[in-house]
Every structure is written in C-alpha cells, then in structure tokens.
C-alpha cells in the first residue's frame, strides 16, 4: 500500500463513517482490509483501492467501511454503566415517568447486540417494578452484518463468557451445540435499525437514556461536538447519557455535564437543559418513526483476545 493509497482510505473512511485513523494505524488497515480484498478476488490492498475508485463499486466500498468499523463487544462491558443503569437511572426514571409509564432507551453503537441485551436483562431482573410499563430499547449501528447478528442473538461460547454471569446464561439463553441464543423474550425487547451517526438521526424521536459508548473516540473533535449536540436535542432535561470509560464531554461541549461520582454518566447541562423540559412536559414527538437515512454507528473498541487455552 502506497502512502497515497493510505491517504485515500483515511479520507474515504473519515467521510463515510467519521472514523479518524492516525498515521500509525496502517497495520489496522492491512489486517482488516486484506480479507476484504481476498474475498473480492483481489490480490492486495492496492488492488482493493483501485477497485473502490471504479464506478459502481458501492458494495465493495461498504464492505471496506464495515470491516474497518466492526469491533468486538461483550455483555455487561465495563460493568459500571449497568450498575448506574440499575441503581441510578432506572429508579429516577421510575419516579419521573410514573404517570406515563413509558421509557425509551437508545444504544447508539449496538454492534452485535450485547449492550442492548445486557440492558434488557437488567430490565427483566427489575420486572416486578415495571409492570404496566412500556419500555423501548432501540439499537442502531452502521453495519447491516452486525445488526443481523444482533437480531439473531446467537453467540459463541467465548462471547457468552465475557462479562455475562453464569446464572444469566442459564436463565436467558438456550444452548444449541456450541452456540447460545438469547431468549425470544429478550430479543423482542430490542429493535434494531441501521443508522450512521454522521447523518440526521432526529427522526428516532426522544430518548430518556442514551448509551453512546466507545464510539466517539473514533471521531475528531468537531464531529464529537456535532454528535453530542444532536443527541442533546433528542433528550428531555432529566435524561441520561452514558459514554465509554475513555470518553468525556469535558473540554468539548457544555451540552452535557458529568454527574458527580457517576463515572461515564452525564445529564444535559447549561443552556441545553434550560431549553429542554422534562419529557412529561415536552411537546415534541415521542414517536418511533423509522430513520430515513441509511447507516449507523461505529462499534465499541476492540477487546484484544489473549491466550486461548484448550484442554
């Protein structure tokens, strides 16, 4: 791959997905795109780049974006956000939405479904308090391939052992040979849609809780500010935003403010909060209109697999 080809790929990925690759990430492009090239019958990444530049190659271009933005995820990743969900967000929302009994949650980088299903499991564990509530979980992502996997809810033995307590595996999954499928009840609690965070997502409606973890790290600062600003407009004043452990709004925007002693948890701040009433008082749409744009979010960062031990 020549420097020119690398620059072309960097520019293309930035334009299509917002993914910002620094100069030293050439290895990442090679490891991710060589399989895409081979699958297309091409001998090298140089040949792949040449193909991308030909007219009518949208499928191969899409495969390149998907390959570069698809990363591993796992159940209850980082644990703390789910503890915040159960201990802080849910109790506050149960109180604040007691009259309407409705809650909308958005997983903006749903990947293969582990995050939205982890939230669904939290909700099932709390179902005694949620009788009569209508709770929607919307999972969005850039890649059709990962969304198909999320919808199927079928995971390998490795995947169900990363962060998922064994009692949850027994309770919510069915074994089928070497794979485990999440129960139809939990699958029915989550709706998946393809969505690109670079595009307009306001038609998704308002959300009380937004999980947008480990995706902003891939964007440059102006893009982060833009996305955070647009998310803030989709939330009521008492809504919650959850970012990844390596992400923050501090120094970027005052649309959100970090919650004291709740790492990774944010609420609308300053002008954004003043301009947005709590949802019960909002006049805007609460609807579930399908997104008009194609595309989606990036996925959580790579979790490197280390030594694999066979018996």
């Amino acid at each position: 791959m020549t420097p020119n080809e690398y620059d072309y790929l960097r520019g293309y990925l930035k334009q299509q997905s917002g993914l910002v690759l620094t100069a030293e990430k050439q290895y990442l492009i090679e490891s991710r795109l060589l399989p895409v090239a081979r699958k297309a019958g091409l001998a090298s990444i140089s040949a792949l780049v040449a193909k991308m530049k030909e007219p009518g190659q949208s499928r191969i271009c899409e495969a390149v974006v998907e390959a570069m933005t698809t990363n591993e995820s796992f159940f209850f990743r980082d644990k703390t956000p789910f503890e915040h969900f159960v201990d802080t967000m849910l109790p506050k929302m149960l109180e604040a939405r007691a009259r309407e009994r409705r809650l909308r949650i958005w997983c903006a980088a749903a990947s293969t479904g582990q995050e939205p299903y982890s939230l669904a499991m939290c909700l099932k564990e709390a179902e005694a308090k949620l009788a009569g509530w209508r709770i929607e979980i919307i999972g969005t992502d850039l890649s059709n391939e990962v969304l198909d996997k999320a919808r199927a809810g079928v995971y390998s033995q490795f995947e169900v052992q990363r962060g998922l307590p064994i009692n949850h595996l027994l309770k919510y999954f069915t074994q089928n040979g070497d794979t485990w499928q999440i129960s139809s009840t939990l699958r029915s609690m989550v709706q998946y849609r393809k969505l690109n965070l670079l595009e307009n997502f306001s038609t998704l409606g308002q959300f009380d809780i937004v999980f947008c973890r480990n995706v902003l790290i891939y964007f440059d600062n102006p893009t982060k500010v833009d996305i955070l600003g647009r998310i803030s407009k989709m939330m009521p004043a008492d809504g919650f935003l959850v970012l990844g452990a390596a992400e923050t709004v501090v120094g970027l925007t005052d649309a959100f403010k970090p919650m004291t002693e709740k790492r990774g948890l944010y609420q609308l701040g300053g002008a954004a909060a003043a301009a947005t009433p709590p949802r019960g008082l909002a006049t805007g749409t609460l609807g579930t209109t399908a997104p008009t744009g194609a595309a989606g979010a990036l996925r959580p960062a790579i979790a490197p697999r280390l030594s694999v031990v066979r018996p």
Binding site: G163, P165, N167, A303, R305, L306, P311
Partner: protein
C-alpha cells in the same frame, strides 16, 4: 495479595492458569486432583479456587461437595473451569455451590471477567 488454588489434572492447564492469575496478582497453589485439593484446603482455605471437573481420584464436583461441608469451606469462591459445557452440568455445578463457571477453552479475558463477577478482582 489474594491466593488461589488451581485444581486440574493437566499440568499444562495449571501452568497457563497460574500465568494468567499471577498476572492478576494472585498467589497460586496447585493440586492435581480433588483429594489433594481438599488436603490443601484443610491446611488453609484459599480465597479462590479454579476447579476442573474431570480428574482422577476425586472429581471436581465431589471435591466441591466435601469442601462446602468443611469448617470455613463456605468461604472460598469456587470457579469451575471445565470442558463440560452443557446446561445440565452447569446447573449441577451451581446447585453444588459453585460461584461461577468457565467453559474450556478459556483465555485471560474470560478468567478475569469471571473472577471479577464473584468479587475476587
């Protein structure tokens, strides 16, 4: 530093588990079957036990049943680590008093996640 007893009849598995757990700041002791593990526990209860199922002399399930009847035997967090990967075996282990369950093959991430799940990390 917490201590962990690694119980497995495979010296390779014990070696790999030791490496992973030492990286996670555990002090490691080893036993190659349930009987030897029980003897080790009677001398001093570890905080954690990584336990294989199929072993000669005394298997993991029998060891767990006996351990939980020993004075102080309720204290160690027991994480099964076995090729028995079906629902029936997992349920049986949990009923017998296991705290978590790893299905082989495993890697560092899985061990770390399971130990964190039971509060050992």
């Amino acid at each position: 530093m917490k201590n962990c007893l690694v119980v497995d009849d495979s010296s390779v598995i014990r070696k790999v588990a030791r490496r992973i757990l030492e990286d996670l700041s555990f002090e490691i002791a080893e036993a190659e079957d349930g009987m030897k593990a029980l003897e080790a526990c009677r001398k001093g209860m570890p905080e954690a036990i990584l336990l294989d199922w199929n072993m000669p002399v005394m298997d993991g399930l029998e060891f767990l049943a006996q351990l939980r009847r020993e004075p102080g035997g309720e204290k160690p967090k027991v994480v099964f680590c076995t090729t028995e990967n079906d629902v029936a075996h997992i349920a049986k282990a949990m009923r017998a008093g296991a705290d978590e369950y790893i299905m082989k093959p495993f890697d560092r991430e899985i061990v770390e996640a399971k130990f964190a799940e039971v509060g050992l990390i």
